[in-house]
């Protein structure tokens, strides 16, 4: 069983569209994250939720809205997609420091 799973793994869309990426973890962890990996491979945290509560929001445009219906799920919704949103988005969960990552979702905005 995949510990952290995210869907879709690949997403190609037009500028201006709205899209969502879903994430689920079956590790029983309290904390979940979204990280963005840009074209230079740099990984940066976007959001962190602990038990469904937002605890980190790293100056991400408000076109990005995370939603955590329960502590096992953290979805990422992006409105009005822009070219610069093209990246790989990683979901992760953790209990004590160590992060467990999903496989990443490559978003390409045309």
């Amino acid at each position: 069983d995949t510990a952290v799973s995210q869907t879709p793994k690949y997403l190609v869309t037009q500028m201006g569209n709205d899209k969502s990426i879903k994430c689920e973890q079956n590790l029983g962890h309290d904390t979940m994250y979204w990280y963005k990996q840009d074209s230079k491979k740099f990984l940066k945290i976007m959001f962190s939720y602990n038990n469904k509560e937002l605890i980190i929001n790293e100056t991400v445009p408000n076109r990005f809205s995370p939603k955590s219906p329960d502590k096992a799920h953290l979805n990422l919704h992006i409105n009005s997609l822009e070219l610069g949103d093209s990246a790989v988005y990683f979901c992760a969960s953790s209990q004590i420091g160590e992060l467990f990552f999903g496989e990443g979702s490559r978003l390409t905005v045309l």
Partner: protein, 116 residues
């Protein structure tokens, strides 16, 4: 602010040889964790090794070991008997133990090429 620096953007090593990847970090915390993650072309992020700052003994995992120098804020990764499957991008990462957010801060990454 906490930072992690990997000064080697690219490295290469011959198969079966040993290579060391460098990482330095900056923090005012005394309690923290350090990690090396591997990202092969499949893009999956895989934990290679983990070090707790309160432990003086360097962590080892089979062919992977670290040289943790707390005073110098240095955390290098040594890969022994390099294999072709070790070809990947390697990220050093830090998380503060005093923080309950678990926010990982990553270095810029080092691309390692293992040559046959």
């Amino acid at each position: 602010a906490q930072t992690v620096t990997q000064s080697q953007p690219e490295m290469s090593v011959q198969e079966a040889e040993t290579v060391t990847l460098s990482c330095t970090y900056d923090t005012s915390e005394n309690n923290y964790y350090l990690f090396w993650y591997k990202q092969p072309p499949s893009r999956q992020m895989i934990l290679v090794i983990r070090q707790e700052a309160y432990k003086q003994q360097n962590a080892t995992e089979n062919r992977f070991s670290v040289n943790f120098q707390k005073a110098a804020k240095s955390f290098s990764l040594k890969i022994s008997d390099s294999q072709l499957g070790d070809t990947a991008m390697y990220f050093c990462a830090f998380v503060g133990g005093d923080s309950n957010t678990g926010k990982l801060i990553f270095g810029q990454g080092t691309t390692l090429q293992v040559k046959p």
